[in-house]
């Protein structure tokens, strides 16, 4: 039995399709189009980074940097070093620092007012240092830099900025490390991302993008690396075009989802337990530590993706241009595709565990599971 469930994402309408047959399936697709392509299609090549940064405010710098890279390559320019990867790492670090700045608003962390305020101030300062570094070397979505290609080729200012960031990060990182370890323990015990079942590994979600950018996709529990060769690009269809996944990845168990399906956990309890920002806090702290040390050592490394693939904070994005002046296509894979795929898997787990044959119950279970995922889908609604 196939049911179509309308869901709302920030930009409009999406749809969850569930099949409660012998082998349950779930699929999320975006139904709204924002026509951002109208903006992209009018921009000459040099303005593409500026236009593309409007695809998403949370990932604006990543779209900007991706477009810069695409345009530079169209002109036959290569940075020679991993300048873009360093810039993207800085951008991800800025995003992580902003996540940490939100810690004062996360009651479950139980931070004292003073500690929270200090953490916020330092995190915001760190975010500024990271963004200033990008701005100085590459410009920004709202303030491009004249001659950015030369700056990239020269590489010197970027190296200097990376080291400055690493130095600035040290103090904050020391402060958050202890806190992050404690929070991580709490989160591991509490939420469905935490490994709770035997033989189950979880791919880092918020941290996944960096680990991809650095060529180190890590598993959250063991910290073990996933070989990038096992990451494949596949067609999703339904307007989502392409996505990436880890081949042979371990199945997600979705402990919380199963508990909901069994009726052991109410929706109210679910929202209390599965506090996604908590998880993000942990992931951000871990990621920030990693970036700072990588930038300090100058070892961010090259991205192992094919030509059009560039990392975004929440997943890979693709910009494809066929000529210098006219974008043939500026297609962006949904930034939240990792979350989407995780959500789909959790819905399937819940449906399988509940063996719900009644349509209304299956729909309720699917929606309950989905409510714990902050689906963004901005990139999916171009």
């Amino acid at each position: 039995m196939v049911s179509r469930i309308a869901i709302e994402v920030p930009y409009g309408d999406a749809e969850l399709v569930i099949d409660t047959g012998a082998e349950p399936r779930a699929r999320i697709a975006c139904r709204s189009s924002r026509w951002v392509t109208a903006l992209l299609s009018l921009a000459p090549a040099s303005a593409l980074p500026i236009a593309a940064s409007r695809i998403c405010g949370s990932c604006s710098s990543s779209h900007y940097l991706a477009s810069l890279k695409a345009v530079a390559r169209l002109r036959g320019l290569e940075s020679g070093a991993s300048a873009y990867e360093a810039a993207i790492a800085l951008e991800i670090a800025a995003g992580d620092a902003l996540h940490l700045a939100r810690a004062r608003y996360l009651e479950p962390l139980g931070l004292s007012r003073e500690v929270a305020a200090s953490l916020e101030a330092k995190s915001l300062r760190l975010a500024r240092v990271a963004r200033d570094a990008i701005q100085r070397c590459f410009g920004s979505p709202v303030a491009p830099v004249l001659g950015w290609i030369d700056r990239v080729l020269a590489r010197e200012p970027l190296d200097e900025c990376c080291k400055l960031f690493a130095r600035s990060a040290t103090e904050l990182i020391n402060e958050i490390s202890r806190l992050a370890r404690e929070v991580e323990r709490v989160v591991r015990e509490a939420c469905s991302y935490a490994p709770g079942a035997e033989g189950v590994e979880y791919v880092a979600l918020a941290g996944g993008s960096l680990s991809l950018a650095s060529g180190r996709l890590t598993l959250l529990r063991s910290g073990a690396r996933v070989d990038l060769g096992s990451v494949e690009v596949f067609e999703r269809g339904g307007g989502l075009e392409k996505a990436a996944r880890v081949v042979g990845k371990p199945a997600r168990v979705g402990a919380i989802a199963r508990e909901v399906a069994r009726g052991n956990l109410s929706l109210e309890e679910l929202s209390e337990v599965l506090e996604t920002p908590l998880y993000q806090f942990v992931a951000s702290a871990r990621e920030l530590r990693y970036i700072a040390s990588a930038l300090a050592e100058g070892s961010v490394g090259s991205v192992a993706w094919g030509e059009p693939w560039v990392e975004a904070p929440s997943g890979p994005i693709a910009h494809e241009y066929s000529s210098l002046s006219t974008p043939r296509e500026a297609r962006v894979v949904t930034g939240s595709m990792i979350a989407i795929e995780a959500a789909e898997m959790d819905v399937v787990s819940a449906l399988r565990a509940s063996r719900a044959s009644d349509e209304s119950r299956a729909r309720a279970i699917a929606l309950a599971v989905l409510s714990s995922y902050p689906l963004c889908m901005h990139c999916a609604s171009l």
């Binding site: 695809i55 405010g57 902003l98 608003y105 500024r128 491009p144 004249l146």
Partner: protein, 284 residues
């Protein structure tokens, strides 16, 4: 001062900027979706509305907003004029509506309720928002953004007239003359149509303005003056041709919405008298 953000159809970019500004200004954030806290109607001193109205639910939220705050601020170009979120209107009459995927045509909140402060730009820079928060926390009235002229007024490039000038949509600005106006060299730069105050960083760096600040005060205030008309007048002046032929050429060469992409779902662009922004302009 307690602030909250009501986020409608938006990309979250303005919230990112506000979060940074709020941290620096030391204000209390009662609700902000990117912090995991949706605004649920509680009273606050300042309520920022971000994004475009695209659903009945958004309309209901917006109706609640006015009475639950001391000051109501339209945050970003989407809230003021539709912005990138309002681009969906370009396709709303075709397959999107046929599929029934859009319950309400995108509308900027500023067309639907009266705001105390408009903060266009995509996104507004954190420094500008810090200043706004400080002003509001002192109980003072912020300076209107419409005191600003166009982007061109701050652009360091020099305007020059060129006989036989033609606008080339696909022309890449990388081969233009340094220091000279992009538009006068055939590049479609929306600086003369766009609200200034940003410092013109894009054209200064050789990137044409895409109009993210929304239309200039003059374009909003002058009844009957369409963005494409204003651009045609300029192009006629650059090329030494007459305005009507410049307008015909423009209409033939650029899509009708290309001069006001960031205001494409606003009544300012569609029918100016209906806009609630005009009273704000008259107060200047």
């Amino acid at each position: 001062m307690r602030i909250a953000v009501l986020s409608l159809a938006s990309c979250g970019g303005c919230q990112q900027a506000l979060l940074q500004a709020a941290g620096e200004a030391g204000v209390e954030i009662a609700a902000m979706p990117i912090l995991g806290r949706e605004w649920s109607g509680e009273s606050v001193d300042v309520l920022f509305v971000e994004g475009c109205v695209t659903s009945e639910h958004h309309l209901r939220l917006l109706e609640q907003a006015r009475g639950r705050c001391g000051k109501l601020v339209a945050l970003g170009t989407c809230a003021c004029f539709g912005g990138p979120s309002g681009l969906a209107r370009l396709g709303a009459s075709s397959e999107e509506l046929a599929r029934g995927s859009s319950s309400v045509e995108p509308r900027p909140p500023a067309d639907l309720v009266e705001f105390d402060v408009l903060v266009p730009r995509c996104p507004p820079p954190p420094s500008m928002l810090s200043q706004l928060l400080s002003t509001l926390s002192r109980g003072e009235r912020p300076r209107s953004v419409y005191a600003e002229s166009t982007v061109c007024s701050q652009c360091p490039r020099a305007f020059k007239g060129i006989k036989g000038f033609r606008l080339e949509l696909s022309r890449d600005p990388s081969d233009v003359e340094e220091g000279a106006c992009l538009l006068s060299q055939g590049v479609l730069c929306l600086g003369p149509l766009t609200l200034g105050g940003c410092g013109a960083p894009c054209p200064a760096a050789g990137v044409p303005c895409i109009g993210c600040g929304g239309l200039s005060a003059k374009l909003i205030a002058v009844r009957g003056l369409r963005p494409i008309d204003a651009l045609a007048s300029l192009l006629a002046a650059i090329g030494g041709s007459d305005r009507d032929s410049a307008l015909r050429e423009l209409e033939d060469s650029v899509p009708p919405h290309s001069t006001h992409l960031f205001t494409s779902c606003s009544r300012i662009a569609l029918s100016k008298p209906g806009s609630r922004i005009l009273p704000l302009l008259r107060r200047l």
